[in-house]
Assembly symmetry: C2
Homo-oligomer: 349 residues x 2
């Protein structure tokens, strides 16, 4: 029996709805296994700007520092989207949170569930059986380099230190040894100096993991291979900007964004969130799929070392897919609501 403190940031759009269901599942786990989960719900994103003027208020950051883990719903609101020059934007809160907590590795499993094959934009034979894990560096690169304007232009600096690459590379290699022993580095080493550094570091570390076969792909080629033959990938490792693009590309080939969780981890902190965004058009309609958030909770339980608990949640999700208890994007006839899917899974647990 363990006590864990979880900062919950429901955020914007469908974020609060899917978090509500994930919390139901967390409570079911707590009842079944006797753990104590102390939830501390805080504002972040557009809702935080509306309430306080700041997308990441000090109290939220504080709660995140004090928590054993963070559960994030989603952030973003269309009123900020077509105004890129706006001084305050929801995304700034997320970027600042990642940086402040040192969440340097974003980890995204992409699994082609059989039940989703008909929903994938790819032909079934291309995608069936695909199962990859993407490690995206999250606190370096062009996202966090110096940026600004000059008299007649603008600039963004991309920088990486050796150490920033080393620490995430080890995580990716370690994870490959527990999977199919393949690691693909995605870079642009034929053009970028930072990419050449990534390749160098990975080549240097590789001998420490003799069981892992290492492969190098230029990012443009990776964007093609992801569609042509996604099954070739096991663990993918890449820098921040390329990871943003490639992991989103990977996520749609599986057939539904609504099923894919993610973790962002650092030396001490860890945050879990569904990869779908705030999807404002669906807000309040009861049609949002809570499964990605529930699977994010499963990743959180694993992070806590609660493997049995995590496996049970995943089993519950498999059962739900099996029984076709699904929201409208996956089931046109007699769809279930967000709340019903959450209750079904919590109940199983």
């Amino acid at each position: 029996v363990l006590t864990k403190r979880i900062a919950v940031l429901p955020g914007d759009g469908i974020g609060p709805e899917v978090c509500t269901e994930a919390i139901k599942v967390l409570e079911a786990v707590s009842e079944r296994f006797g753990h104590q989960f102390e939830l501390d719900v805080q504002l972040m994103g557009a809702c935080a700007i509306d309430a306080t003027g700041d997308p990441l208020p000090e109290s939220t950051l504080q709660a995140c520092f004090e928590a054993d883990a963070i559960l994030l719903g989603a952030i973003g609101d269309p009123k900020y989207d077509n105004n890129p020059a706006a001084k305050v934007r929801p995304e700034q809160g997320l970027l600042r949170l990642r940086k402040s907590l040192g969440l340097f590795a974003n980890i995204r499993p992409v699994t082609a569930y059989d039940v989703l094959l008909e929903h994938s934009p790819l032909k079934a034979d291309r995608i069936q059986g695909a199962d990859m894990l993407i490690y995206r560096e999250l606190t370096g690169g062009i996202y966090f380099g110096e940026k600004g304007r000059t008299a007649d232009g603008a600039y963004d600096h991309c920088t990486y230190t050796r150490e920033e690459i080393v620490r995430i590379a080890h995580l990716a290699f370690q994870s490959a040894t527990t999977r199919r022993n393949k690691l693909t580095l995605v870079d642009k080493a034929n053009v970028l100096e930072t990419s050449r550094l990534w390749r160098e570091v990975v080549q240097q570390i590789a001998p420490e993991y003799p069981s892992v076969a290492v492969d190098y792909l230029f990012v443009d080629n990776a964007a093609m291979q992801m569609i042509l033959n996604p099954k070739q990938f096991d663990v993918i490792l890449t820098e921040n900007m390329f990871g943003d693009i490639i992991s989103d590309e990977a996520s749609v080939i599986a057939g539904s964004l609504g099923l894919l969780p993610s973790a962002s981890v650092g030396e001490t902190a860890a945050m879990f969130e569904p990869i779908h965004g705030s999807y404002p058009q669906a807000k309040g309609k009861g049609i949002a799929n809570p499964i990605a958030t529930i699977l994010s909770v499963a990743m959180m339980l694993e992070h806590f070392g609660m493997q049995e608990e995590a496996d049970l949640v995943k089993e519950a999700v498999d059962y739900t897919l099996d029984k076709n208890v699904l929201t409208p994007e996956l089931r046109a006839d007699h769809p279930f609501t967000t709340e019903q899917v959450g209750a079904f899974i919590a109940n199983y647990v």
Copy 2:
């Protein structure tokens, strides 16, 4: 009757083979319409390194400056690929050529030919009818910014001036007015200052093209939309690095790289090349598809103002697709050779 001087850079791998067929077609056009095409064949890429130590020898650059247009096969050789630290690489020749000639706009049509639907990794209903034109900025951004090493790391600077964006934006808008009047800017304006400048400039120019509907997509979302619903795109405009990734992603959904041409244009110079690479595994086997290079010749003819000639070449390609005179990747039973496909098209012309 016109005289045009064309610098031909066959390059590496299958480059020479596909150029040979494209030249056949050019000669057929010359015979039929009485034009004079003066060809000046030069080395570039790995073959130029092997012969001279320089991927872009002075004589090649000179020939390109003196030509009315350049036809490029492909460059690249595996012996340079797994050696990112190599001091001289084939790609450097290409990048230097783009920069020296001021080829600031890379233009790529992506068309989903019906005959290719079965070859597309996407389900037919997603891709059928897709028809887009990508404008990628080619001489700015992180490709050409300052780059180097520090004591413990590496950096690449991404910069854009307003003028670099203005000139390609006008080309893209003009082209949209001759098509379906839609322009999508792909950027990362929620994170990058250069992207915010792109968005600003495009917003400022848009009123000059009142018929064109402008849309803005973050690059991660664009990578998803390209797979989910490629038909939504008409003209896409984007910066160099994002264009590299998104245009390669776009090219595979159409079902064959072997059919897609490209143009890279500047104030005065213009270069035409197939988008497939040097594909060294296929070299000398007679299995390379020459159609992308032949369609690149069609783009060159259009650039020369020879619309009728260009249309005839495209008609010949359509006829070839129709008659199933195709290389093995598109036709498993009784495939035709590179040479046969080229002869068939030249003959039609």
